[in-house]
Subunit: 200 residues, 2 copies
DNA sequence: TCCCTAATTTTACAGCGTTAAATGATTTAC
DNA sequence: GTAAATCATTTAACGCTGTAAAATTAGGGA
């Protein structure tokens, strides 16, 4: 009886189809638009059938997250393997990470909980009180640059902001890193960037 | 008739109460648990009344976001003002940012779209293929450290990861920064951290 | 007291994730 | 070949969501 296997294969295919359909919807309409009924529509079934394949919606997201992490790991490993020198390896591997985040934005959002938020930040602040406005002044001063909107100031500002926001959101999403290490990274990073301001 | 004013004041109070109720719920149960009906319950009204004060749920979130940004700006400015030297200003102001993110975690999540995700990352990867496993080797090599789990390696890894993830999520949430600047920050940061590996 | 207006609630709709029951189809046993 | 049993799938339903319209209640002015 090969029919048992045929059916088994078909069911496995449906499992994959559900994941693919979910990803298609997200790619088209974003994560907040993903619903069990839409997935069902796409695979031409009714909604409850999905529960035959996945315990619930979260399980689907979990599976997609796992897939995302596997893709990321592959790309980083491949980039690393293409180089010999450790410095070159590091650059290549982080660049692969960077590229993954934008080429597979939907996966990255799911994996690291980056919500696409409604509102543009700049219109949120009373003028002159954005973090940029506050931080740009001492940055510019140290660099000996008069114009607060100079690209060099802007770059340094984003360097500060990135590492701090990055460290924060990593800690919010996945707690577990020790406070000790966090503080150390924070101080290291701030003083490191600050030192680099004087040089130029 | 002062009663007109009394009523006006009462309505203004209700506007505030709605925001406060929303924040209380979020503080207790997280953002995903916030609903119009729960807010209404808390202020002892029925749900549709809220639409008399805010256009919709998004408007409430918008208002809270604005409040969060104002709090952040205040704290950063105050921290900056407490110092004279620009280097000290920068350290103080970014430390204030850091503290805000954790003391007002709910606001920070709303402001920067940091979702608290379901799943622990480590169980997602086949063993030995986490980004840490991949990146730790060249880091350790450059630092002349044999043990991949050494705290010094771990710290450097998180420094890389933070700035890259930070830069990515800032770009995902609020597009607008030029690609040119992004690339420059990325390269600067990577080579900067990499250089710091050799020194030690 | 009557009317108008404003405040508030009730009801309703369409969508969500999810479960239980009812149907339909297919395989197994005799 | 027909009956029974098992599986696949759908229909119906529950409680929840955001939101809109209608119905109700309350308050103030003539």
């Amino acid at each position: 009886m090969g029919s048992k296997e045929r059916i088994h294969r078909l069911k496995e295919q449906t499992r994959v189809n559900i994941l693919d359909a979910a990803y298609d919807i997200v790619k088209d309409e974003g994560w907040q638009a993903l619903s069990m009924r839409k997935i069902a529509d796409k695979i031409e079934y009714t909604a409850p059938i999905i529960y035959e394949y996945y315990a619930n919606k979260e399980a689907i997201l979990y599976e997609l997250t796992k897939k995302g992490f596997m893709m990321l790991a592959e790309r980083m490993q491949a980039a690393c393997d293409r180089n010999e020198d450790p410095a070159a390896q590091l650059e290549a591997l982080w660049l692969a990470y960077w590229n993954f985040a934008f080429e597979e934005k939907e996966y990255y959002q799911l994996m690291f909980g980056v919500e696409v938020n409604c509102c543009l930040m700049d219109e949120m602040f009373p003028t002159g009180t954005t973090p940029y406005d506050i931080a740009a002044r001492p940055i510019a001063e140290m660099m000996g640059i008069g114009d607060l909107d100079d690209d060099r100031v802007c770059t340094k500002y984003y360097t500060y902001w990135s590492i701090i926001h990055g460290l924060i959101s990593i800690n919010i999403v996945r707690k577990g890193t020790s406070d000790e290490i966090n503080r150390q990274i924070l101080r290291d990073a701030i003083t490191g960037i600050t030192r680099s301001l004087k040089k130029q």
